[in-house]
Amino acid sequence: MPGTEITSPVCLKGIQARAGTKSIVVPHTVLPVFGISISFKPWGFHEPKNDDHPVYSPFYLYNINGIYKFWLSEQIPHINYLDMAKPETQKPNFIGLQANLGIGSGDQMPYRFLEDIATGDAAFEAESRTLEELFREAAIATFEVMVDTKGVEPQITREVELKNESVDGLLFDWLSELVYLKDAEAVLFCKFNVNIKKNDSYKLKARVSGENINQQKHSLRSDVKAVTFHMFEVKKTRENWTARVILDI
């Protein structure tokens, strides 16, 4: 998932990457605060009509051990031009981009919905550097199925404590607990602060924040009935943790 072949030179505010590079290493000192505009011919996208209207792709920038890598989303066929912020206002943290993908700022990695797996339901994959980030991403993805989380404010807070022998059991219980709270308390969550410790078993402590469901205020989508075991998987790769989840709609 991370990295996509770049087929033409990418100019990233003074950083150049050669075609064929899978990722760009961007020292944080030159990273602008908000938004990066790049012009290139992305894989799988439409050709621009003419040179005056280049096609830009939304992408994710994420921090793995202090190195910024970027990854293209194949899911959005038409994207917005993002304004450049002045490079003077640099920040050392990862900057999230392209709001309609539900990515905010912070040390996060993307999730993506899988189109071809579940016809009646919602399937997603998440990948993160740490287990806690994975659990957060999976939670965001789960709520993004139900609501545009950008429109949800972190007004109400709940504590969640769980224990499980296996990490996939823990993720299953975590997402199931959030789905349960959604109905029991009629709340949609947007912010997840997760802490996981492993001794004999995995222990999760989390603080989740959100708002009471408001049909007038929130942009509601489809209700999640349950987390399924179907193709459910949590894996550790060399660098990252990945998860695949199918939710019953």
């Binding site: 016809t119 009646g120 349960y180 109905d183 489809s222 009935k225 399924t228 019953d248 709609i249």
Partner: protein, 480 residues
């Protein structure tokens, strides 16, 4: 995988096709529908054929597509003595089902007021993510709903005494035991009685067009006439049932090892029906099923109130009787003939509807000579059908038929093809007034994302399993 043609509408995968199969699998479909079925269907229907105690065949109906464990459209009956019960054979939405209500109103009376009616229904029947019902319940009262189902509703004034005879199981499956459901399930569902949910659930105002009345005598016996306005409700047990299913899926996941059952698919988790886990789940499933019957009953009560408000007449003066209510995600204890012998079986129907033929005692007296009414839902743009069960269904499919048209396109893909607001306008141009809580959810439900219901219904008609009575065209729709 070897598939043998038994007839134009029945295809069989022999028991030799996969190791562990105890019976063959049988798929009801035309050649075309069979060719369009996803690979998961064949994998899953043959996995089900491996479950202990399965009788005759593992079935899949023409609207079949892959699901969790069992395919959607799956039917499997197990011996009561040595068979299993499987939550995957019932689904997360326990007793998701359909209810059809008649009225004495005609299209010409309702069409001028359709917007007002849809708005009124949208107000009185909460829908959408996490919607709360208007009925406030204590935990004790909610437990009584679990035990008594529709009887509780009638006692509280949500309905008429004779409503229950027009509901499968008379609106209450015996054996429900609230001590077998978790506190979580209770707290998850307690505020949701009388709500519609979201996704493919709906409340639809429909018309029985003259050219779509296929059997005039049966239609009349069911209370249908030309250009009549009817209301169809499609929903289930809401968060309560979903939590019961989630809870027991986890319990069965670990319990299976105890009984030495090995399944190919974790979602096919099961336990012997006579085990403590099996019995507990059945009793909890019955609670959820009864809550679903009660849910549809409260919704119907609101529908009657709304019509009454708009047309300024009492619901009984409007002739708003239930035609029938069917479950399409449930397991039932039923007596069927197997190898010349009457046997008590546990019949799982997941995305499949009971379709009993004339003479069965389970059918209410008013319909017993004709056969059971069967309600089958199409997409929100194409309409639905009312069918009747047959004697052949009893012989061939344990009295089961399809439940709807089945999706062909993922929700994500559907949302990319159409914008909800545009679809709403298109539907209005086509004469269907829609109120939806979620525009994205509406887009996901576009007609092009579903199979052609007529093809599915015609398959079972030609196979002799269920017969068309009337086709119902939508003119108003409420969605979550």
């Amino acid at each position: 995988m070897e598939i043998r043609k038994i007839s134009d509408y029945i295809w069989e995968i022999p028991a030799t096709a996969k190791e562990g199969m105890l019976v063959p699998a049988r798929i009801y479909a035309t050649k075309k529908l069979l060719g369009e079925m996803d690979k998961g269907v064949f994998e899953q229907v043959t996995n089900v054929a491996c479950l202990p105690g399965i009788q005759k065949y593992s079935y899949c109906m023409p609207d079949g597509h892959w699901g969790y464990g069992f395919p959607i459209g799956g039917v499997a009956a197990f011996s009561r003595e040595n068979g299993v019960i499987s939550p995957g054979g019932i689904g997360f939405d326990i007793n998701c089902g359909m209810r059809l209500i008649r009225t004495d109103l005609t299209l010409s009376e309702v069409k001028p007021r359709i917007r007002e009616l849809v708005d009124m229904l949208f107000k009185t029947v909460p829908a959408g993510v996490g919607s709360k019902g208007l009925v406030k319940l204590s935990v004790e009262e909610f437990k009584r709903v679990m035990i008594h189902g529709v009887d509780w509703c009638i006692e509280k004034g949500y309905g008429w005494e004779h409503d229950k005879e027009r509901i499968e199981e008379y609106g209450c499956i015996p054996g429900a035991d609230p001590s077998k459901v978790s506190e979580k399930a209770i707290s998850r569902g307690i505020s949701q009685l009388g709500t519609l949910g979201s996704g493919n659930h709906y409340l639809e105002i429909q018309v029985a067009t003259p050219n779509k009345i296929f059997d005039k005598d049966v239609a009349e016996a069911f209370g249908i006439f030309e250009n009549q306005i009817l209301v169809m409700v499609h929903c289930g047990s809401r968060g309560f049932g979903h939590q019961v299913a989630t809870d027991y899926l986890k319990i069965f996941d670990t319990a299976m090892r105890k009984y030495g059952i090995v399944v190919r698919d974790r979602e096919l988790a099961c336990a012997p029906f006579n085990s403590p886990e099996g019995q507990d789940y059945y009793k909890a499933m019955a609670c959820a099923a009864n809550v679903a019957f009660a849910n549809r009953q409260v919704i119907v009560h609101r529908v009657r109130e709304s019509f009454s408000e708009v047309f300024r007449r009492e619901p009984d003066e409007l002739g708003m009787d239930i035609i029938y209510d069917v479950a399409h995600n449930v397991a039932k204890i039923e007596t069927h003939e197997v190898d010349g012998e009457e046997k008590e079986l546990l019949v799982h129907r997941k995305g499949s509807t009971r379709c009993f033929g004339p003479g069965r005692k389970e059918i209410p007296e008013i319909y017993r000579k004709i056969g059971q009414p069967v309600i089958v839902g199409g997409s929100m743009e194409t309409g639905s059908y009312l069918l009747v069960g047959t004697e052949k269904a009893m012989k061939e499919t344990f009295g089961s038929t399809m439940h709807g048209s089945g999706r062909t396109m993922s929700r994500t893909a559907a949302k990319k093809k159409v914008i909800g607001a545009e679809l709403k306008k298109e539907m209005e141009r086509a004469g269907i007034i829609v109120r939806a809580v979620s525009m994205a959810g509406l887009a996901e439900e576009a007609g092009f994302a579903y199979k052609d219901i007529s093809e599915v219904v015609d398959t079972m008609e030609r196979a002799g399993i269920s017969r068309k009575v009337v086709g119902l065209r939508p003119i108003g729709n409420i969605k979550g």
